[in-house]
Point group: C2
Chain length 364, copies 2
C-alpha cells in the first residue's frame, strides 16, 4: 500500500513518509520502522500549517487500499476541502520524448521564483516502476524536487484509471489545503488519462516537439482538441526553425476547431525548457486565461461541473465494478458471448439475459 517504498531512500527524507516516527531507546531490538498514529485533527492541523511530512502521510492514507485507512483518509479530506487555498490547476500532457519533465522542472522553478507554491502530481494508471513511469524517477526534476516551495508526488501505484484519478483528485485537495496554489497534473499522451486530467484542471497544456512533418502522429485522436494551449518544446539550437514551422501548422489547425465552452482561443507557442525561453510567457498566458474565464464565469462554472461530474462518474464506475465483478455476471457473459459472436443473438438479447439474472439475484 505504501507506494513510496520502492523509491530511493533519499526521497523519503524529503517526503518523510517512511521515516521512523519515534524510536523507543529502551527497545533496541524492535523494528525501527513504526509510524506513529496521528488523529484526524493532528493531520489536518499539520497539513494546513504547511507541514509536508503530514501532507505526505495523508496522501499515503488516501492512496492506501486498506479499509482501516479509508475512514481516516475521508475524514481528513472532508476537513481539508473547506481549507483549500485558491489555486490554478494545470494539466500537462505529451508523448514520451516531448520533454515533459524538463519543461515541468523549468516551469516549476520559474513559478516558485515568482513566489508561487507548486505541487506536481501525476496520473499514470499504467505506471510500473520498472518501466520508468512518469515522475517515478524524481531525479529527472532534481532542482525542483529540492525546492522548498515545490512538492512532487509520483503517481499512485498502478490501478484502474478510475482509482488513480480518484486518488489524484483527492491528493490535489490536500495539496491546496497545504497552501500549494499552483497544481500541475502530468499525464502521458496515451489512452484515456487525458480526459481524466482535463476533468480536474482549469487549464490543459499539450507539449509536443517538431519532427519530420508527422508531428501529430502518435498523439491520440481528440487530445489536440482538448488543449487550451500547445507548446512546441525543444525550440533551441538547430531546432528553432522547425519548431516555428510546426507552430504555424498547429495554429492553422487550431483555427479549424470550434471554440470550446470556455470561449478561449487555444494558443500555440514555442518554448525551450533547456534555455528557459518562453517559460515565463507560458505563465502569463495561463494568467490571461484565468482572468478571462473568471471574467466570463467559466472558471467557477467549470469547477462546479467537474465536481458534479466526478460525483456521477464515481457512482457509475462503482455500479459497473459491482456488476462486472459479480461471479454470476462473469459466468453469464462468457456463456452468451459465444452466441453473440456466432451471430445467433443480438447484443440486446444477450444483454437482457445477463441483466435479468443479475437483478433476479439482487432481489433474492
Amino acid at each position: 500500500m505504501n507506494s513510496d517504498k520502492e523509491y530511493p531512500s533519499a526521497l523519503h527524507v524529503q517526503d518523510g513518509v517512511d521515516q521512523p516516527a519515534q524510536v523507543n531507546p529502551y527497545l533496541q531490538y524492535t523494528p525501527i520502522f513504526k509510524p506513529q498514529t496521528y488523529t484526524v485533527e493532528e493531520y489536518v492541523q499539520g497539513i494546513t500549517s504547511g507541514d509536508r511530512v503530514f501532507l505526505s502521510r495523508a496522501i499515503t492514507l488516501i492512496e492506501s487500499n486498506l479499509q482501516k485507512d479509508y475512514q481516516k483518509a475521508q475524514a481528513i479530506l472532508e476537513a481539508c476541502i473547506s481549507r483549500a487555498c485558491p489555486s490554478v490547476r494545470i494539466g500537462i500532457t505529451g508523448v514520451p520524448g516531448a520533454g515533459k519533465s524538463t519543461f515541468i522542472e523549468a516551469f516549476g522553478k520559474y513559478l516558485t521564483s515568482i513566489g508561487r507554491k507548486v505541487a506536481v502530481l501525476a496520473i499514470d494508471p499504467s505506471s510500473e516502476r520498472s518501466k520508468g513511469s512518469i515522475l517515478g524517477d524524481k531525479t529527472r526534476m532534481e532542482t525542483l524536487s529540492t525546492d522548498e516551495n515545490a512538492f512532487i508526488r509520483p503517481s499512485p501505484s498502478a490501478g484502474t484509471l478510475g482509482g488513480v484519478a480518484r486518488k489524484t483528485a483527492e491528493t490535489l485537495i490536500l495539496c491546496e489545503a497545504a497552501g500549494f496554489n499552483t497544481i500541475i497534473i502530468e499525464t502521458v499522451g496515451v489512452g484515456q488519462s487525458e480526459t481524466a486530467v482535463k476533468d480536474m484542471v482549469d487549464f490543459f497544456l499539450m507539449l509536443m516537439i517538431s519532427g519530420a512533418g508527422d508531428e501529430l502522429q502518435g498523439i491520440k485522436r481528440g487530445i489536440m482538441e482538448m488543449a487550451d494551449a500547445i507548446l512546441i518544446n525543444k525550440a533551441d539550437g538547430d531546432n528553432v526553425k522547425k519548431a516555428e514551422l510546426t507552430r504555424t501548422q498547429i495554429r492553422s489547425a487550431l483555427k479549424l476547431f470550434p471554440l470550446s465552452d470556455s470561449q478561449w482561443t487555444p494558443e500555440a507557442h514555442t518554448v525551450s525548457s533547456l534555455q528557459h525561453n518562453g517559460i515565463a510567457d507560458v505563465w502569463t498566458m495561463i494568467e490571461r486565461y484565468v482572468a478571462f474565464t473568471k471574467n466570463n464565469g467559466y472558471f467557477d462554472k467549470n469547477r462546479t461541473l467537474q465536481w458534479q461530474k466526478r460525483f456521477h462518474m464515481f457512482m457509475k464506475e462503482s455500479l459497473l465494478d459491482a456488476f462486472y465483478g459479480n461471479e454470476n455476471v462473469k459466468e453469464n457473459i462468457s456463456r452468451v458471448q459465444q452466441d453473440l459472436l456466432n451471430g445467433k443473438i443480438s447484443p440486446y438479447q444477450a444483454g437482457t439475459k445477463v441483466l435479468d439474472d443479475y437483478f433476479k439475484h439482487k432481489e433474492d
Copy 2:
C-alpha cells in the same frame, strides 16, 4: 407507440404500416383500422421475401414500447440476424443546412440506378415532429421515397439516445434481412448521436458546406476526427471556388490527424448534389474503402467489435437507468447535491452515501 401515425397519409400507402388489414364487410360500424396479427414466422417469411409491408410492421414492433410487442419483436429479430444479407453500412452527418437530404436523395438514386437496394434510417433522439426532424418530412426525398429499391424510415419517436440507437441498430438488421444491401444512417451534427452512428456503420461520412472561413464552426468537436471522408457539398455555381478552397483546408487539417485503426486515410471531396457532380465518386471511394478494410481485416473486426460494444453498452445503460430511475437514489442524490455544491463533501463521499443506500436496499 405507432410512430408513423403522425405522417401524412400518403406515406402510409408506401409503408403500409397503418393500412387496414382486412375489413369484415359484415361489421360496417366497427372501426376500419384493425391490424391483422401475424405470427413470428409470417413476419420473418414476409421480411425475407422482400415484402415492405411486413418490414414496416416489424420495425413498428421494434419501435414499440409495449411489453406485449417486445417478445415478438425480439423473436423476429433473432430469426432475421442469420438471414441478413451482406451489406455496406454508411453513416452520414452534417449540420443543418449542409444539404444532407438532397445529398442522400442524389446518392440513393445513384445507388439504386447501379442495382443496389438502399435503406435510409435516421438517429435523432431530439426528434420532435413539429420541429421538422430529420427524415420527418419525407417529401424532402421525393424521388428516392418512390423508388422501389429504396426504403426510407424516419427516426423513431423521441427517446433517450440509447433507446433510439438500439431501435435503429435492430431496424438495420431487419432491413438487411429484407435484402437492402446499402444502409444509410443519417444523423444531425449535434450532440452524442455521431458516436452512436459511428458505432453501427462501416463508413462514416461528414457533409459540410464552404462558408466565410469559419467552415468548421458549429461542428461538434471531435466529429471531424471520426470521419472516413468529408464532403464539401453545394459545390455548384458561384460556390465551386470556395468549395475547392475549403477542400484544400480540410485536406491539410486531416493530414494532421493520426490514422485510425482502419489504417484508412480520410479523404476530402467536393460534391454537388444538385448537379450530381461527384456523387458516383463517393460510391467508388466507399467501394475502395470496403475493399481496403476487408483486405486488412478491419471490416470484419470492426463489425465484431461494434457488436460486442453494443452488448456492453446496453448492459451499462440498463444498469444506470435502473440506478437513476430508483426513487431512493433520486432522493439521496438531491440530498447530497447541496453539500457537494457547497463544498462540504467530496464527490466520492457524496457518491458513497448514495451507493451504500442503493446496495443496502437492493439486498433487502
